[in-house]
Symmetry: C2
Subunit: 223 residues, 2 copies
């Protein structure tokens, strides 16, 4: 049987936080799927066929039809498999606020990290401060709640926790401590990691660290 | 009565395409609202109160609660006022595709235009080509359909048409013709403009042109 004939197929990568996001959402809904590891240094015809616009992972293929962009995939999962764990609030206002914060995460976290990962000295230090600034905004939004949406694990948690192994690795490179510098997010992440959907979807932070160091080397940005 | 006690309040600007987007959505649902014109050179305490994170327009306040980010506002309108014209497809797959293209528009159109608006000579020309490239991708997605979603005006149309007066003004600055260079989008826009919701929400392209020229002057980028 060819891959895309499976009910649900995910094209992704072990090191991709956006892939982890989709894996968490599928696990929360107890949906089985075939996973295809993409080689990002030599993109497959399958990826080019199913995401011709961005040629990026993750792509979820459901009954032969592709859905791209991880937050859009999570929303699709939420609306297609209505039974089981709710991934988004049903109230339109709460949903809009969850969408706002998930969008904030996607606008700032990766691009913020990239800035300091690819720089040195003073510029790097400035980048680290800026990056921690974004996380502190999120920490302040979390406040004293156990999860972003309130009492239960939800959309914003899913949007952010998928970055967690990366954030630990970023800390090693940017000389910050998740536990000390963003303690509320540390406590929140510790709770999130108790969910099997999360712990199984996240990569080993050490492996992420190694791959980031290799990436910096390839691009000539060594400390 | 203070402004925010109205059922629906929109804080926006006549020249903002994202504000027009919200106005179109509200008009399609026949929802009356109070409009507060924001002075972007001196942001109001109201804006800072209701959008403390981005301090940007538009903000829609519904029963005293703010919603920010225009696409999120359109989705909120769609889910809150279920009666009347549907702003998004009900089928999850069609909805995911509409969300993908609206996101494409927001990732590329404004930032693409900004690049060539703020440059000169060869760099400007390259920017114009890149910008037209994004529009041509959209034109190809439109194909032979009357609207992006198919037979009727919908989410992607709303997401893109709000840029139309700007695109005409961009053409005057970048020396391209909407009618000749992107003829399918021209025909589509001509159809969209027949809707009162659209024609009433869009600014005069000449006024947009003048404000862009003034903006270029202020920033020392004159041709």
């Amino acid at each position: 049987m060819s891959s895309t004939e499976s009910e649900v197929v995910v094209i992704g990568s072990w090191a991709s936080m956006y892939t982890s996001r989709v894996r968490i959402a599928l696990a929360e809904k107890s949906i089985g799927y075939e996973f295809i590891e993409e080689d990002l240094s030599d993109r497959s015809p399958l990826l080019l066929k199913y995401n011709p616009i961005y040629k990026k992972i993750p792509v979820m293929i459901h009954k032969g039809r592709p859905i791209c962009e991880s937050l859009i995939i999570v929303q699709y999962i939420h609306e297609t498999w209505k039974e089981g764990y709710p991934l988004l609030p049903s109230d339109p206002y709460l949903k809009s606020q969850a969408a706002f914060w998930a969008d904030y995460i996607d606008k700032h976290i990766y691009s913020g990290a990239k800035k300091f990962l690819m720089s040195k000295g003073e510029e790097k230090q400035k980048g680290v401060e800026e990056f921690l600034g974004y996380l502190k905004v999120l920490e302040s939004e979390l406040g004293e709640k156990p999860y972003f949406n309130g009492e239960s694990f939800g959309y914003v948690d899913m949007a952010l926790i998928c970055f967690y192994s990366h954030i630990i690795a970023f800390g090693k490179i940017g000389n910050f401590s998740v536990e000390k510098d963003i303690p509320k997010l540390f406590a929140w992440a510790t709770q999130c990691l108790k969910r099997e959907s999360v712990s199984k979807a996240l990569a080993d932070p050490n492996k992420i660290y190694e791959s980031l160091i290799a990436f910096k080397k390839r691009n000539g940005v060594e400390d």
